[in-house]
């Protein structure tokens, strides 16, 4: 590698497969996210500090960070506390809406499947369906699974609106003590949509002008996501497509195949991609691919759609957020299918430098330059087949001279749903409680969230994960964090060698990795569920457990909502990059200290992954001591 390029590549990513392709991209003059970050420097300090309000036409306004110079209030009179809190709630509501709208779409497909109106879908997990029906108080006796499904779907839909003023999962799943803290703080979520709409209302000029009140509603909105929209997305996806079980597959850009038709499934919602998986196995399409000169059809995932199909179908996964442009830059992708969230708006421009066709599939997420094949449950399978056919027909357009695929895809194990973990432990979580109580495992940590080009790709995820398992802390991961660990070889049972003696012994006796891949970013709800189950078994609140969370490389508004619902549920949560609140010492104080007295959890901001691990381990030890273990 050219020395100059080598320096750039090593500063941008720790993903060895990505380095190979990034070098090619730089040589070919392909613009990537890192170039755009550089072009954006310096980024506005008012924005970074949360001191800029661009909400109404009296503005935009900004508050000076120095009290002896510049304005201290916006035109409307908002001070820096209000502006920072409103900005944060605005970001958070977008994140909560993204998860919840995703959830709604899954429930829509579920309802149409129950009514026999969808194409290609089946109810795959009847046990989980019946368990959810029980939770909702729906009588299942003597009813067909479709009839039960319809009642469950309608019951869930009701909770998106405001008629009922409660969310069932937020009633039946959290431990009593945690629910008590919500009640006392006045943040019990009333519905999925209501909290989001109300949040949007509150940030309007002249509505909520008390930063504390705004931040409390931010917590409530996040709870309607974590225990509502996201949890519905997870649970109903399980019912429709099967609850994940441990599965082995491969990860990194090396999963693309030089001699096959490559389709990348990118985005977050698995509803269409599940059908594409089915379509790609159809004999006529496989034969067609062979006729076109390929050896077959190779589906690979990307980001959380990738996590979804990896968990349930064992589809290999090409990478996380910062790998999306590089997948195209291999020159070997016939079609990148996109649904929504975390897809670079410039992805079609990247694809334009190669033969790759980008196929958009959601009515709410169109990308200029993409071929639009809209997803509808009623003809989903036909659409899926059309997309696969398009990819096959694009195979002859590939220029073999411009193809560079890294070798050595990494092996990984995924699919650790709560059900799978419970079953690996012999049907109950008691063995996990026992090893935590004995101290073999000190506690558990959830590492979640995105990539952010401001941090060398995956570096913080991997260093933090390794530091935690070394300290005998079991690590549960979702989203880009889980993919990062996969690429680094931490999601295989052999990685137990890197763990401390206690965790190593437990992981080896169960034949599992010390780091468990629990799914996509909506599947952070699975982490809530397992935390709730542990707390209930010990008859304590979630805040009393020896657990902690981190989002070391976060970028997205969804991550703000996730971080907030962990904190609101009682989890100490470390952020690797500062949220846009540092202009307001009061908001910082409330979120990093004051909130602990209200909900039991709080935020910390710490970019150094070793220090993150120390903070989390110290918190876990503090909680162990309080529990007397």
């Amino acid at each position: 590698m050219d020395k100059k390029i080598e320096i750039i590549v090593n500063a941008r990513t720790t993903d060895e497969a990505a380095k190979v392709v990034l070098e090619k991209a730089i040589e070919e003059g392909i613009e990537t996210v890192w170039d755009r970050l550089e072009a954006q420097q310096p980024q506005c300090g008012f924005g970074q500090l949360g001191m800029c309000c661009n909400r109404c036409a009296m503005g935009p306004c900004r508050i000076s960070p120095f009290d002896d110079a510049g304005p201290t209030r916006g035109v409307c009179g908002a001070d820096v506390d209000l502006i920072a809190a409103r900005n944060l709630l605005d970001d958070l509501l977008v994140g909560a809406a993204s998860h919840s709208d995703h959830g709604r779409e899954v429930v829509e497909v579920f309802l149409e499947t129950a009514e026999g109106k969808s194409q290609g879908y089946k109810i795959l997990d009847e046990t989980k369906l019946n368990a959810i029906a029980d939770e909702y108080g729906i009588d299942t006796k003597g009813k067909s699974k479709e009839a039960v499904a319809k009642e469950v779907a309608l019951a869930i839909f009701e909770e998106f609106g405001t008629v009922k003023n409660s969310i069932q999962f937020a009633e039946s799943r959290p431990p009593e003590k945690t629910k008590e803290t919500w009640k006392k703080a006045g943040i019990v979520p009333r519905s999925v949509d209501r909290e989001i709409v109300e949040a949007a209302h509150r940030v309007h000029m002249g509505v909520d002008s008390d930063y504390v009140n705004i931040l409390l509603h931010a917590l409530r909105t996040s709870l309607s996501d974590g225990w509502g929209g996201s949890m519905m997305a997870t649970d109903i996806s399980d019912v429709l497509f099967g609850t994940p079980k441990p599965v082995s597959s491969y990860v990194n850009l090396g999963v693309l195949k030089p001699d096959m038709v490559n389709i990348v499934l990118h985005g977050h919602n698995p509803v269409l991609s599940e059908m594409v998986v089915k379509a790609s196995r159809e004999k006529d399409l496989v034969d067609y691919a062979k006729k076109m000169g390929a050896k077959g059809i190779n589906l690979v995932g990307m980001c959380c759609t990738g996590n979804e199909v990896l968990m349930r179908q064992g589809v290999p996964i090409a990478g996380n957020m910062l790998n999306q442009e590089l997948a195209i830059a291999t020159g070997a992708v016939e079609v990148m299918l996109i649904d929504y969230q975390c897809i670079f708006p410039s992805i079609t421009k990247t694809a334009g430098c190669y033969h790759t066709k980008v196929v958009s599939t959601s009515e709410k997420a169109k990308f200029p330059g993409a071929i639009h094949k809209e997803f509808h449950p009623g003809n989903a399978f036909d659409t899926a087949k059309e997309i696969v056919k398009l990819a096959v027909e694009n195979f002859p357009n590939r220029n073999p001279d411009r193809v560079k695929i890294p070798n050595n895809p990494m092996k990984l194990m995924a699919g650790f749903s709560v059900e799978a973990i419970t079953s690996a432990l012999g049907g109950t979580l008691q063995p996990l409680i026992d090893v935590i109580a004995s101290g073999k495992i000190r506690g558990a940590a959830g590492i979640v969230g995105c990539n952010n080009p401001k941090i060398k790709q995956d570096y913080n995820h991997i260093v933090l994960t390794k530091e935690l398992i070394k300290r005998n802390i079991l690590v549960l991961e979702t989203g880009c964090a889980a993919i990062a660990s996969g690429k680094a070889g931490l999601l295989v049972p052999e990685a137990a060698e890197l763990a401390g003696d206690g965790l190593k012994e437990v992981a080896q006796s169960l034949g599992i990795p010390p780091v468990l891949h629990m799914g996509s970013c909506v599947d952070c709800s699975r982490i809530l569920v397992i935390a709730a189950k542990l707390a209930k078994a010990l008859n304590v609140g979630i805040a009393d457990l020896p657990i902690a969370g981190a989002a070391p490389e976060w970028y997205s508004q969804k991550a703000i909502s996730i971080g907030a619902y962990f904190v609101a549920s009682g989890v100490y949560t470390v952020l690797g990059l500062p949220p846009k609140i540092f202009g307001s010492p009061n908001v910082v104080q409330l979120l990093t200290e004051g909130v602990e007295g209200v909900v039991g959890g709080k935020f910390a901001v710490e970019p150094d992954p070793v220090r993150q691990a120390e903070l989390m381990a110290a918190h876990i030890e503090k909680k162990r001591k309080a529990l007397g273990i």
Partner: protein, 203 residues
């Protein structure tokens, strides 16, 4: 001598000064009008990233004696005696870049200007907003700066107040008391960003 004094610790990289400068030197002197002009007006003050995500607004210091003036072969650079500003006569500038080579602050750049029809680019460095100054106003960049990073006034007066501040902090330190020069939240943010720069590709 009046000058634009820079307090770099107060710069937060918003680039508001750049925008105000470009507007001031456009034909229409209006944000929206500027966007439709050819040639497009460009800022003469530059906010760039240093280390640890810190920024510095760099502009002409209007030196005296000015190295650029001393080397200009055509005499295109000259001084306005009343304001002490070093100015460029666009019609005699030959774009040789001698001025840029000797500039101690590397702030000279070459662009086309709307005020005169020329085939070549000319030195479009800061003119100290001489028109504004003559009308009794402060330079556009200073007016736009909301953090106090740019301050216009007599250098000695500005320095005197900074010096006083320094003396207070030093004597406080001697007493063993903490005297931060920045608000604690801003200090905390800067510390975090300095760390982020260790784990990332920038700053």
């Amino acid at each position: 001598m009046k000058t634009v004094f820079v307090h770099p610790e107060r710069c937060i990289g918003c680039r508001h000064c750049e925008m105000a400068c470009a507007i001031e030197h456009s034909k229409s002197q209006d944000l929206f009008g500027m966007l439709f002009e050819t040639p497009r007006s460009k800022p003469r003050i530059h906010v760039e990233l240093g280390i640890d995500f810190m920024t510095f607004p760099n502009r002409c210091r209007h030196c005296d004696p000015a190295p650029c003036m001393q080397v200009c072969p055509t005499g295109a650079l000259h001084r306005d005696v009343e304001t002490g500003s070093v100015l460029v006569n666009y019609s005699t500038c030959i774009g040789c870049a001698m001025c840029a080579m000797v500039c101690p602050f590397d702030i000279i750049s070459f662009n086309k200007v709307w005020s005169i029809q020329l085939d070549h680019e000319v030195n479009t460095k800061c003119d100290h907003c001489i028109d504004r100054q003559q009308a009794g106003n402060i330079p556009a960049c200073v007016e736009a700066c909301k953090t106090g990073a740019l301050e216009f006034g007599d250098a000695n007066t500005i320095i005197r107040s900074s010096r006083k501040d320094f003396t207070v902090r030093t004597t406080l330190a001697l007493k063993g008391e903490e005297a931060p020069s920045l608000p604690p939240n801003i200090e905390a943010f800067r510390d975090i960003m300095a760390k982020v720069s260790q784990f990332g590709t920038l700053g």
